[in-house]
């Protein structure tokens, strides 16, 4: 209640002649940029979106297996005292005899079992560390990766939960070398005919890309399908609704339509499919086991 009351008496309290409400508003308008949410203007056109998607694809498709391999490579340097204690280490800072430095916390667990002839393989890795090679390149992490796969002869399935930030300056993969941040869920399956991977969530490698139920497939007739968004320089998101023919309309997220594009993403889509494991090779019945 105070505000209207005080406004009500302001004309009499200001001896210098307070500007009227309307002139005050004008002053404010001049001072601050005019803005409303409806005004959001697309800084990019469809060609810009296509170029950004294609450029981003040149960094490759982030793959948790590569991260795991980088980590396990470091662990082979264990000299019995540093880092020691298996694949888990905590709050330590040490340098191995071979000159590798371990600093931080890691948890790594691997499980595998066999059920009905299919191999169940899962691994979990949580990293909050900085590992440095003798050449000075470092592998840094803050995040967690969970991969649960079942691999049989006729069917392979995988469930991925990928979080956090990962960067390895010594990696030969573009996305890993320049750094990756993600919060992404993946579900994949592969049978004798076709492999598929559905992604939900976001990845930033160079630019930020968001997958809203995007399905990658080995099917040459439908390599990618779903809504893929990429962030522009101005912070706005641009949507591309990928159709099976590799083409689809683009728009400023929640705003204007920007025309259709067919970006060249086949190589990238194929790299995405590497996240889904291959089938177990059929074991040939040689009859040898029966023995003489």
């Amino acid at each position: 209640m105070l505000i209207p009351l005080i406004l009500a008496c302001s004309p009499t309290t200001d001896p210098k002649g307070t500007p009227t409400a309307s002139s005050r508003d004008t002053a404010l308008d001049l001072a601050a940029p005019a803005w409303s949410a409806d005004d959001a203007v697309a800084a990019w056109d469809a060609q810009d979106i296509q170029a950004a998607l294609e450029l981003n694809a040149t960094l490759g498709f982030a793959n948790p297996e590569s991260i795991r391999r980088s980590f396990l490579d470091f662990m082979t340097q264990d000299d019995g005292t540093c880092p020691s204690g298996g694949e888990n280490f905590g709050s330590l800072k040490c340098t191995t005899e071979s000159g590798y430095t371990f600093s931080g916390i890691s948890i790594y667990q691997e499980r595998s079992s066999s059920v009905d002839g299919a191999r169940q393989q899962s691994w979990t890795h949580v990293g909050d560390y900085k590992l440095t090679r003798p050449d000075g390149t470092s592998f840094e992490s803050g995040g967690g990766l969970v991969s649960s796969a079942t691999v049989g002869t006729g069917l392979a399935e995988i469930d991925l939960k990928l979080r956090g930030s990962w960067i390895d300056a010594g990696s030969n993969m573009g996305w890993f070398r320049s750094g990756l941040s993600w919060l992404l869920l993946g579900l994949g399956r592969r049978d004798a005919e076709v492999g598929e991977l559905t992604l939900d969530g976001g990845v930033t490698t160079g630019r930020a890309v968001y997958f809203d139920d995007v399905r990658f497939s080995t099917d040459p007739d439908c390599r990618i399908e779903g809504t893929l968004s990429i962030q522009g320089d101005d912070g706005h998101w641009y949507d591309w609704q990928a159709g099976c023919d590799g083409c689809g309309p683009t728009s400023l997220q929640g705003g204007e339509e920007l025309g259709s594009i067919c970006p060249a993403l086949d190589t990238w889509a194929a790299a995405a499919m590497l996240l889904v494991p291959g089938l177990e090779p059929e074991v040939m019945d040689t009859g040898l086991e029966d023995g003489p």
Partner: protein
């Protein structure tokens, strides 16, 4: 209607036949006002030249004040004053120097740089006269070489000190809203979901306290299970009142969401791919009090278009320089400041200038008719903050108090900031207004050390004159140089001229110590006493 009457009572009467009410604020003398302005805007007392100029022509006061507003020292002062309100200069963040393999003697510098980053950004906008909304729309921040080494910013090679930099990690151009220092101070977690951050923005930038409204837990609301709480936040009227604004704001901040707390890599970089998480976690699209936002990039512009932002700038500048909270009675003064600010093209230095023109700022006492309430509300004597005390000692004596790389008056890990009435941003969030026992002890130790330093380096060591302009160790009371020395010290420390009684009391003290311990110790005793004097530590 009582409120109405009170609100209007402060204004000049409109009826010209009735005499204006006697002013509540009795202004300080010109010299003391100059001292106050110099300490507030530069962190050091006025020098002799300025005092001479003012003595020769009292009309110089405003011009001298304007020169203080142009002084490079203003930037540090703004940082210190903003720190008392933004609370980002804490001793330890979730990410510490060790996470970057920095040596231990950089522990203080690291935390200090992180905490000052958002404050330096605002101070830079102020001293470069950019329109104030730049604090929420610029793509720049400020960084030191240390931050340049560990954060994704393009710190210029070969430079030193605080420099203007751009983030290199795709964070939107939203000034202080994209500041690592701010979000490292105001962290969040899986149950809080950026809500505290949203409330912090509203409090700091709009001066609205979202926790001050009463919360009533109606019978229908069950907070025992997570689902019940989630439902209540969205539906129960007692929750919706606040949460319908908090959730959409919180939802715009998920680019600063980390998946591992305490991790340097996660905390230092912006995560654009997580921006839409708020929609999933909070079931709320980003919005600014009902106005949809396409993301964090819109939030800065939305704030810059909110009239509350400008009122809040005026209100917090006044609070900073009045050394008290702004209250309902101040509405008319704040409104005037706000209009000045807008008409002055939103230059923050213009706002500071306007605040130093107010009667509240210039008061040295309150009139006899002041009520208990007035006396309680209006501090007419300010206590030097730890920052002001430290910068004044440095200016006068060259002394700065550090230990193991820790600035002793600027932290509480290995230091005495709180003891000296300062704000650590966690336990203590408001500067102390009155001297206490621990305050006295710290002032004593610091004064002794500063006096020691000045005497040893200048009078004993023969270093360049800084504090002592006239004497050497051979001069005795009665010498013209001795009298002149005390006179200049009195003016530089207190801004006023010494009288004879003071001169003779100080000479007595000097002689007493000199008899036992010699002239160097006598000067140390004198200077340390002068620095502890209420006329020095108050302003």
């Amino acid at each position: 209607m009582i409120l109405l009457a009170l609100a209007c009572a402060d204004g000049p009467a409109t009826d010209s036949s009735s005499a204006p009410p006697e002013a509540l604020h009795v202004p300080l003398s010109d010299e003391l006002l100059l001292r106050r302005m110099s300490l507030d805007l530069r962190g050091v007392p006025p020098d002799l030249e300025d005092l001479d100029a003012l003595e020769a022509d009292p009309g110089q006061l405003d011009g001298l004040r304007d020169s203080y507003l142009d002084d490079p020292l203003l930037e540090d002062r703004l940082v210190a004053m903003f720190a008392d309100r933004w609370h980002t200069r804490i001793d330890e963040f979730q990410v510490v120097y060790g996470d970057y393999d920095l040596p231990q003697d950089l522990e203080f510098a690291f935390a200090r740089d992180v905490g000052e980053e958002p404050l330096r950004l605002m101070a830079w906008v102020a001293v470069t006269d950019q329109p104030w909304p730049a604090i929420v729309t610029t793509d720049k921040t400020r960084a030191t070489p240390l931050l340049g080494q560990v954060w994704p910013v393009d710190y210029p090679e070969g430079e030193q000190g605080w420099q203007t930099v751009t983030w290199t990690d795709l964070r939107p151009p939203v000034g202080v809203l994209a500041s690592n220092g701010l979000w490292w101070r105001y962290t969040t977690n899986a149950s809080n979901m950026n809500r505290a951050r949203a409330a912090t923005l509203v409090r700091l930038l709009l001066c609205q306290d979202m926790l001050s409204r009463p919360v009533s837990l109606e019978g229908s609301v069950s907070l025992e299970d997570e689902d019940g709480t989630a439902q209540a936040i969205k539906n129960a009227p007692s929750c919706v009142a606040c949460h319908s604004s908090i959730e959409p704001l919180a939802s715009s901040l998920f680019g600063f969401w980390t998946t591992v707390e305490y991790n340097a890599l996660e905390s230092a970089t912006y995560h654009p791919e997580r921006e839409s998480l708020g929609v999933a976690y909070l079931e709320a699209e980003p919005a600014y009090f009902g106005q949809p936002l396409s993301g964090l990039s819109d939030l800065g512009v939305a704030i810059a278009n909110d009239p509350r932002f400008y009122r809040c700038a005026a209100e917090s500048a006044a609070a900073m320089l009045w050394h008290r909270e702004v209250e309902a009675e101040d509405f008319a003064s704040i409104e005037e400041l706000r209009q000045d600010f807008i008409q002055g093209e939103l230059a923050y230095r213009g706002l500071l200038r306007a605040v130093t023109d107010t009667a509240e700022y210039r008061a040295g006492a309150l009139a006899d008719h002041a009520t208990e309430e007035d006396l309680d509300r209006e501090p007419t004597l300010r206590l030097l903050s730890p920052d002001q005390f430290a910068s004044s000692l440095l200016e006068l004596t060259g002394f700065s108090w550090t230990s193991h790389g820790f600035d002793q008056l600027a932290n509480d890990k290995i230091g005495h900031r709180i003891l000296l009435g300062g704000v650590d941003g966690y336990q203590v969030t408001r500067p102390q207004r009155d001297p206490g026992l621990t305050w006295t002890l710290v002032v004593e130790r610091a004064s002794q050390a500063a006096a020691d330093y000045a005497v040893e380096s200048e009078l004993v060591g023969g270093g360049a004159p800084r504090l002592f302009l006239n004497v050497d160790l051979a001069h005795q009371p009665g010498d013209a140089e001795f009298t002149a020395e005390l006179e200049q010290l009195h003016r530089r420390l207190y801004a006023t001229r010494a009288d004879e009684a003071w001169q003779s009391a100080v000479q007595d003290l000097w002689l007493e110590v000199e008899a036992d311990e010699g002239p160097a110790e006598a000067w140390k005793a004198v200077v340390s006493a002068l620095l502890r004097d209420p006329a020095f530590v108050g302003y």
